[in-house]
C-alpha cells in the first residue's frame, strides 16, 4: 500500500528532523522530504499509475503528511534559531564592571566658568559686556577716578609702569570713564578683564588677577537700587538662603562707598578661619558714582546718578569651590583645572 509507504516515510522524516542540530542540516532535510525532487513529491509523481479510486486517497495522504512535516519543520526551525541565539548571547557576555572606552573632551578654565555665571546674572538684568585695554593711561586708571598723583589711595594700588603716564591697569574701573566718554545715560555695563598689581604673591595675592567692573547710570538710581541689584546677584551666585551684609567702605571714585559681604559659606556665619572669625566674606566693593567722576565725562551729577561695583572672580571661585590658594588659577596645572570641568 502506498499509504503505508507514506506513513513509513513520515515517521522516518520526523525522526530525522528530531536529529537535526543546526539550520544547515534542517535545509538538507527540507530538500530531502519537501523539496521539488523530494520524497513527498515522488509519491505525487507516482500517482499516474493509480486507479481513479486510489488517486484521491493517496493525494489526501500526501497532503496530510506534507502538513504534518511542514508544521514540524517550522517548529524545529524556531527551536534551533532560538538555541543558536542563546549561544550567541551567552558568547557575547561582557564584564560590565570594566571601564568604558575613554572619550576625549576638554574643559574651560575655572575662571571662565565663573565669568559665564557672572555675565549671565548681569545680562539678565539688562547689563551688557564691554572691554577695555589692559595697558592703560594713568589718566584713566587714576586721575579721572579722583585719584590724583600723591593720593593715599595710590598706595593701595601697587602699580606696574611702562612710563610715567602708561601703566598696567590696577583695576577695571578705568572702563567707567571709557564707557561714559562714549555712551550717555542710560548705561548698564559690565567689563571683565585682567588687572595687575606689583605685589609679592602669596596665597591671597597675585600680580595678575581678573576683575569685573559694573556700572549703571541713569536718572534716579539710588543706593537702594545698588543694594537690590547686587544682593540679587550675590544670592544667585551663592544661593537664595545667603544673608547679605552691606557696609560703608571707601573708594575715591564712589560716594557713598559700599562693601558687600555674604555670610560665611563654611561656618554659616558663626565664625571660622575662612571668614577671619567675623562670620562674613567680602565679595565686592561698590558705591554711588562720585559726582566728580560724572563731571569728568560731562554727565551732570545733579541730573544723573549711578552705581559702580567691582569684584574678583578668583575670590568668588575660591569661596564657591573652597580653593585656598589664589596662585592655583594661573599655574594652569591641569590636575587642578580639570576638577572644574
Amino acid at each position: 500500500m502506498i499509504q503505508d509507504q507514506i506513513a513509513e516515510m513520515e515517521r522516518r522524516a520526523l525522526a530525522e528532523l528530531q536529529a537535526t542540530s543546526d539550520l544547515v542540516a534542517l535545509d538538507e532535510w527540507r530538500i530531502k522530504y519537501l523539496g521539488k525532487k523530494g520524497e513527498l513529491t515522488g509519491f505525487l509523481r507516482g500517482m499516474g499509475g493509480l486507479s481513479p479510486v486510489e488517486r484521491p486517497l493517496v493525494g489526501q495522504a500526501v497532503n496530510t503528511a506534507k502538513n504534518i512535516l511542514e508544521t514540524a519543520v517550522a517548529e524545529r526551525t524556531e527551536r534551533l534559531k532560538s538555541a543558536a541565539l542563546e549561544v550567541t548571547l551567552t558568547r557575547d557576555k561582557v564584564d560590565v564592571t570594566l571601564p568604558g572606552r575613554p572619550v576625549q573632551v576638554g574643559h574651560v578654565h575655572v575662571i571662565t566658568k565663573v565669568f559665564r555665571e557672572i555675565i549671565e546674572a548681569f545680562t539678565a538684568m539688562g547689563f551688557q559686556v564691554a572691554e577695555g585695554p589692559e595697558v592703560e593711561l594713568d589718566y584713566y586708571n587714576f586721575q579721572q577716578l579722583n585719584i590724583p598723583p600723591g593720593h593715599p589711595a595710590r598706595s593701595m594700588h601697587d602699580t606696574f609702569y611702562f612710563s610715567e603716564s602708561v601703566l598696567l591697569r590696577t583695576h577695571t574701573s578705568p572702563n567707567q570713564i571709557r564707557v561714559m566718554e562714549k555712551q550717555k545715560p542710560p548705561v548698564r555695563i559690565i567689563v571683565p578683564g585682567k588687572c595687575y598689581r606689583s605685589e609679592a604673591t602669596d596665597a591671597t595675592h597675585e600680580f595678575m588677577f581678573m576683575q569685573f567692573e559694573g556700572l549703571a547710570v541713569d536718572r534716579d538710581i539710588t543706593l537702594a537700587d545698588l543694594r537690590g541689584t547686587l544682593a540679587a546677584f550675590a544670592r544667585r551666585m551663592f544661593g537664595e538662603e545667603r544673608k547679605v551684609r552691606f557696609r560703608c567702605d571707601y573708594f575715591p571714585y564712589v560716594e557713598p562707598g559700599v562693601d558687600l559681604s555674604i555670610d560665611c559659606l563654611i561656618c554659616q556665619g558663626v565664625g571660622c578661619r575662612a571668614c577671619k572669625y567675623s562670620g562674613w566674606l567680602e565679595i565686592l566693593g561698590a558705591g554711588m558714582v562720585h559726582p566728580q567722576v560724572l563731571r569728568n565725562v560731562d554727565i551732570d551729577p545733579q541730573k544723573y546718578s549711578g552705581f559702580a561695583f567691582g569684584m574678583g572672580p578668583e575670590r568668588i571661585a575660591m569661596l564657591k569651590y573652597s580653593i585656598d590658594d589664589i596662585r592655583q588659577f594661573y599655574r594652569n596645572d591641569l590636575r587642578f583645572l580639570r576638577q572644574f570641568a
Partner: protein
C-alpha cells in the same frame, strides 16, 4: 592699622556695648574691625607674684634665683632675666600654665622660618612644669611680654604696677580686649583713641571726653629759647613748639607702657613714650628734640639741599634730594619733617632739656618721602599722609608737655611758638535735603538728619525761607561756603559747618554718606533696577571667544590662562633654532619692539608678550611632568607696540598646543610609550574644524608651507601658514605646525612631537559668513572612488581644490581616504585616493551624468598637474 585697647578707650568714653557689638557697628560704619584680640583669655594659672628676694645662682653666672610669693605660698624661681628687684610685682606662671614659647619663636625667626610679626600665625606653646635648673629647684616661671602674647618684647620680665593685688589672676590685671581696625585712606581722623571715641559716641549716643589739659608754665619765655621759621610754606602749614627744661629721663609710668604695648607701640623712655602716647590719644604726631643739640637755637623748615646727609633715629644714613623736607637748625638737618627724627638730636638718657614739636605737613610730600626712603611707613607718616587736623598741634603739645612735667619733672617755658601763616577756615556746605532721597532712595525726616549730623559734630543751621541762616552759639567768622550751584536755599536746605578734623568731607555726597552711616547701611532697602534699558548690542569678540571655547573643548583641548607678562629669556628660547647674529622678529605678526615694564617684580615677568607661544610651551612643559597627554588652548591678548601711540594694540589671539600620545592609556591603548603621538595633522584637524564651525568657508582657507625665516620656532618641514582668501585679498590668519626640536628642548619638553598653532582671533568676527540653508533632498547619492597618481612633491591641497571646483554643485563631498607610495606606483609618484560624493538636487543622477563629471575632473587634473589614474 590701629590697635585700640578697650581699657584705653574707656578713658574717654563709657562703653555700653559688648566688644562684638562695637566691632560689628564700627565695621558697618566703614571702620573695619579685622579682629577682636582678647588678651589674657589663655592665662590660666598665671597670677600676680611678688619678689621676696633676688640672689645670684651659685652655679651659673647668667641666672638669678628669685624667692617669690602669691600671697599664700612661697616659690623659688630660677630665671635668666635680671630686671626684677625685691618688692616688684610680676606675672608668675604656676605649673600647668600654658605660655607662648618665646625662645622657639625667636629662634624660628632668626632661622628665617617666620616672616612678618613675631606674634602672627600659629604660635608654639609650652606648659609650665616644676624642675631643676643648674641644680636648683625652679617651681614657677617669671613671665616676659612675648610669652604672654602682649607684645614682642622678650628682654625681661613684665613688671606690674604697685597696686596689682598679689595672687590675683593676671587676667584681672593685664587682661584686655583690643579692636584691630583696618582704616581706609580717608579715615585719618580715626587713627587715635579720641577719633575712635568720637565714632563710638556717635554710634552709641554716649558722650566722650577730651583729656583735661592744664599746663603750669613757670619757665622763661619760649620765644627766648627758640626761633622757628617756615621757609617751605607750601609744605608746612603750621609749626608749634614748647620747651621744657630740667627733665629726668627714666621709664614711663607702668599704665602708659601697658597702653602702648597693647597698641603695639615700642616702649623707650618717659619723654619718647609720652610723644607716642599723645599721638595715639589725639592723632597728632609729635617730635621731641634734645634742646641742647639744636644749634643756634633756631629751627628752619626747608627743603634739603641735594646731597645733604641726615642720620635718622633708626641709625640709617640718608642722602637727601630737594624733594625731602627738613627741620634744620642753624647748621644741619635735625629731622626728616613728619617722617622720622634725626639721630643727632634724639632724646638720650642724658637729655635734660626738651623741645617739643607739633606740626602739620603736606600729605603728598610726606607720602613720597616716607615711601621712597623707608620700607615701613612710620606711625607719624601714616597719619600725616592721610592729613591731620590742623587745629590740633597746640592742643597736643600742651597735653604732652603736661605729661612730661608730671612724669619727668622740669619747668615748662612760658608760651607756645606757633607759626601758623594761614589759620583754618571752617568749610560750610549747602545741603539740599532732596539729595538724601535722590541718592539713598529713602526718606529721613529733617529733624533726624540734623540730629545725625550733630552727633558727628557737624554744626547745622536750617536755612530760613528768606535764605538767611544762623549757626549756634560760637559762630565762627572765618568760614568759607562751598556751593555746588545746587538749589535755592530754602526751608529744605541745611547749612553744614564741617569740623576741622573732617578733611574727608568736601562735597554734599560726603554728607549723604554720613547720613547713610548714621541711618545704617544695613537698613537701606533692596530695590530692583527700574527705568529705561540702554540700547542692546552683541559683543562679537566675546561671542567668538565663547564659540571657540565650545568647539575646542569638544575637540578635547582644555583652556588655560597664563600671565601676559613674560621674560625675555623665554621669548629668546623661541629662536633657539636660529643661528647667526641677525635677530629675527619675535613673532610672525610683530616685527616691532616689545612693551617693557619700568618696574618689573623680576626679570621673569618683564615684557608684555607679543605671542602666546612661549607661555603655552611653558605650560605644556610643566604639565608634561605629570601628565602624558597635554592638549591646551588659550584665548588672550598679545601686545603690539604702535608707532606714535602711547598704548599698544592689544590683539585677541588664540593659541593651541598638543603633545603626547594620541589616545590616553586604556585597555584599548595598553602601551603608551609605543602609542601613536599627536602631531601636525591632529592639530591641523582641530584648526580646520574650528574655522569651519566659526563659519569661515573652507574653500577660502589655504595652508601653505612656511619657510624657516617666516617662523623660526617651527619645524621647517612641518609647519603651515593659514591664509584666507576673500574678495581677491590674501590674509594671514596664523600658523600651525610642529615646534622645532631645538625649541622643544629649550622649554624642557620631552623630545617628541609638539604641535602648536596661533591664530589671529581679532580678525575672526569680520570674516564669519552668514550661515545659509542648503537644501536637503532625499534623492539617492552616488559615490565614486578616484585614485590620482601625481608627482610626489605635488601638494595634495591643490588637487582637492581642483576636484572641488570642477565637480561643481553636484559634488558635495571630497574625502581623501588613501595616500600610497610604492609598487605598482612608479618611483617618485604617489597615489591619492578620493571618495567623491555626488548629491543631485532635483532628479536622480544617471550613470552617464556621473561618468561625464568624473571625466571632466580627470581631464582637468591631467592638464593641470599631469595626473594619471588607477583602475
Amino acid at each position: 592699622m590701629i590697635k585700640v585697647p578697650l581699657s584705653w578707650l574707656k578713658e574717654y568714653i563709657d562703653i555700653t556695648w559688648t566688644p562684638e557689638q562695637l566691632a560689628a557697628g564700627l565695621t558697618l560704619r566703614g571702620l573695619e574691625v579685622e579682629s577682636l584680640i582678647r588678651i589674657g583669655a589663655g592665662w590660666d594659672k598665671v597670677v600676680v607674684g611678688q619678689v621676696l628676694s633676688v640672689e645670684k645662682h651659685p652655679n651659673a653666672d647668667k641666672l638669678v634665683v628669685l624667692q617669690a610669693t602669691d600671697g599664700q605660698q612661697q616659690y623659688q624661681i630660677v630665671t635668666g632675666a635680671w630686671n626684677l628687684q625685691e618688692g616688684d610685682k610680676f606675672p608668675m606662671a604656676l605649673p600647668g600654665a600654658k605660655l607662648i614659647d618665646g625662645h622657639k619663636l625667636v629662634d624660628e625667626k632668626a632661622a628665617g622660618k617666620r616672616s612678618g610679626d613675631l606674634l602672627s600665625g600659629d604660635l608654639p606653646y609650652f606648659t609650665v612644669k616644676g624642675g631643676k635648673l643648674r641644680g636648683l629647684d625652679s617651681q614657677a616661671v617669671a613671665v616676659a611680654h612675648l610669652e604672654l602674647g602682649i607684645s614682642e618684647a622678650f628682654d625681661g620680665i613684665v613688671v606690674l604696677g604697685p597696686v596689682a593685688p598679689v595672687g590675683a589672676p593676671l587676667q584681672e590685671v593685664l587682661g584686655d580686649t583690643i579692636l584691630d581696625i583696618d582704616l581706609s585712606p580717608n579715615l585719618g581722623r580715626a587713627l587715635s583713641m579720641i577719633g575712635i571715641a568720637r565714632e563710638v559716641s556717635a554710634m552709641t549716643g554716649v558722650p566722650y571726653y577730651m583729656p583735661r589739659i592744664a599746663v603750669l608754665e613757670e619757665g622763661p619765655s619760649v620765644a627766648k629759647k627758640i626761633k622757628v621759621e617756615i621757609e617751605a610754606t607750601d609744605l608746612c602749614s603750621r609749626f608749634s613748639m614748647m620747651v621744657i627744661e630740667g627733665v629726668k629721663i627714666g621709664p614711663s609710668p607702668e599704665w602708659m607702657q601697658r597702653y602702648l604695648r597693647a597698641a603695639d607701640q615700642p616702649v623707650i623712655n618717659n619723654i619718647v613714650d609720652i610723644t607716642n602716647y599723645v599721638m595715639l590719644e589725639l592723632g597728632q604726631p609729635l617730635h621731641a628734640y634734645d634742646y641742647d643739640d639744636i644749634h643756634g637755637k633756631q629751627l628752619i623748615i626747608r627743603r634739603a639741599k641735594a646731597g645733604e646727609k641726615v642720620e635718622t633715629i633708626d641709625h640709617v644714613d640718608h642722602t637727601l634730594n630737594p624733594n625731602v623736607l627738613l627741620v634744620a637748625d642753624a647748621e644741619r638737618g635735625v629731622c626728616l619733617a613728619g617722617v622720622m627724627g634725626g639721630a643727632d638730636s634724639e632724646i638720650k638718657d642724658t637729655t635734660v632739656n626738651v623741645a617739643l614739636e607739633g606740626a602739620n605737613w603736606n600729605a603728598f610730600n610726606i607720602r613720597k618721602t616716607a615711601r621712597e626712603m623707608f620700607d615701613k611707613v612710620s606711625e607719624a607718616a601714616k597719619r600725616f599722609e592721610r592729613t591731620v587736623d590742623i587745629e590740633l598741634t597746640t592742643v597736643a603739645i600742651r597735653r604732652a608737655i603736661q605729661l612730661m612735667q608730671q612724669y619727668a619733672g622740669g619747668r615748662i617755658a612760658k608760651g607756645i611758638v606757633d607759626v601758623y601763616p594761614a589759620p583754618h577756615s571752617h568749610k560750610v556746605l549747602e545741603f539740599p535735603l532732596t539729595e538724601i532721597r535722590r541718592v539713598l532712595g529713602i526718606e529721613i525726616p529733617t529733624k533726624k538728619v540734623v540730629e545725625m549730623l550733630a552727633a558727628l559734630e557737624f554744626d547745622v543751621a536750617r536755612v530760613r525761607t528768606d535764605g538767611t541762616y544762623q549757626f549756634g552759639q560760637d559762630d565762627n567768622p572765618t568760614i568759607i561756603v562751598v556751593s555746588e550751584e545746587h538749589s535755592l536755599r530754602d526751608g529744605n536746605t541745611l547749612m553744614v559747618r564741617v569740623p576741622s578734623y573732617r578733611n574727608d568731607v568736601t562735597i554734599v555726597a560726603d554728607l549723604v554718606e554720613e547720613v547713610a552711616r548714621m541711618y545704617g547701611y544695613d537698613k537701606i532697602p533692596e530695590s530692583p533696577l527700574r527705568g529705561e534699558l540702554p540700547p542692546q548690542f552683541t559683543n562679537y569678540a566675546i561671542l567668538v571667544d565663547e564659540q571657540v571655547r565650545t568647539i575646542l573643548t569638544g575637540c578635547g583641548l582644555s583652556e588655560v590662562i597664563t600671565y601676559p607678562i613674560v621674560s625675555l629669556d623665554d621669548l629668546k628660547k623661541l629662536h633657539r633654532a636660529v643661528s647667526g647674529a641677525d635677530a629675527p622678529s619675535l613673532h610672525w605678526s610683530n616685527p616691532n619692539q616689545l612693551m617693557k615694564l619700568a618696574n618689573p617684580l623680576s626679570t621673569e615677568y618683564e615684557y608684555m608678550r607679543p605671542t602666546l607661544i612661549s607661555s603655552m610651551l611653558k605650560t605644556l612643559s610643566e604639565n608634561r611632568r605629570f601628565i602624558e597627554q597635554v592638549e591646551i588652548f588659550e584665548i588672550g591678548q598679545v601686545y603690539l607696540k604702535r608707532e606714535g601711540e602711547l598704548l599698544p594694540e592689544e590683539r585677541r589671539t588664540l593659541a593651541l598646543a598638543i603633545t603626547g600620545p594620541r589616545l590616553p592609556l586604556s585597555r584599548y591603548n595598553p602601551n603608551l610609550k609605543e602609542a601613536e603621538r599627536l602631531d601636525f595633522f591632529d592639530l591641523k584637524g582641530v584648526v580646520e574644524e574650528l574655522l569651519r564651525r566659526l563659519d569661515i568657508p573652507a574653500k577660502q582657507i589655504t595652508y601653505e608651507p612656511l619657510t624657516p625665516s617666516d617662523s623660526p620656532l617651527l619645524h621647517p618641514g612641518r609647519a603651515a601658514g593659514v591664509y584666507l582668501r576673500q574678495n581677491g585679498q590674501k590674509l594671514k590668519l596664523g600658523v600651525v605646525g610642529e615646534v622645532h626640536p631645538l625649541v622643544v628642548e629649550a622649554f624642557d619638553l620631552p623630545a617628541e612631537r609638539v604641535a602648536i598653532a596661533e591664530l589671529d582671533l581679532a580678525a575672526v568676527p569680520a570674516l564669519m559668513q552668514r550661515e545659509i540653508y542648503q537644501t536637503v533632498t532625499r534623492l539617492p547619492v552616488t559615490t565614486q572612488d578616484l585614485a590620482v597618481i601625481v608627482d610626489d612633491d605635488t601638494p595634495a591641497g591643490g588637487i582637492q581644490q581642483l576636484i572641488r571646483e570642477t565637480g561643481g554643485n553636484l559634488l558635495t563631498d571630497v574625502t581623501l581616504f588613501d595616500l600610497y607610495r610604492g609598487k605598482p606606483i612608479p618611483e617618485g609618484k604617489k597615489s591619492l585616493a578620493y571618495r567623491l560624493t555626488f548629491q543631485p538636487l532635483e532628479k536622480t543622477l544617471t550613470e552617464d551624468e556621473v561618468t561625464k563629471l568624473r571625466e571632466k575632473i580627470e581631464k582637468r587634473l591631467t592638464r593641470e598637474v599631469g595626473a594619471t589614474f588607477r583602475g
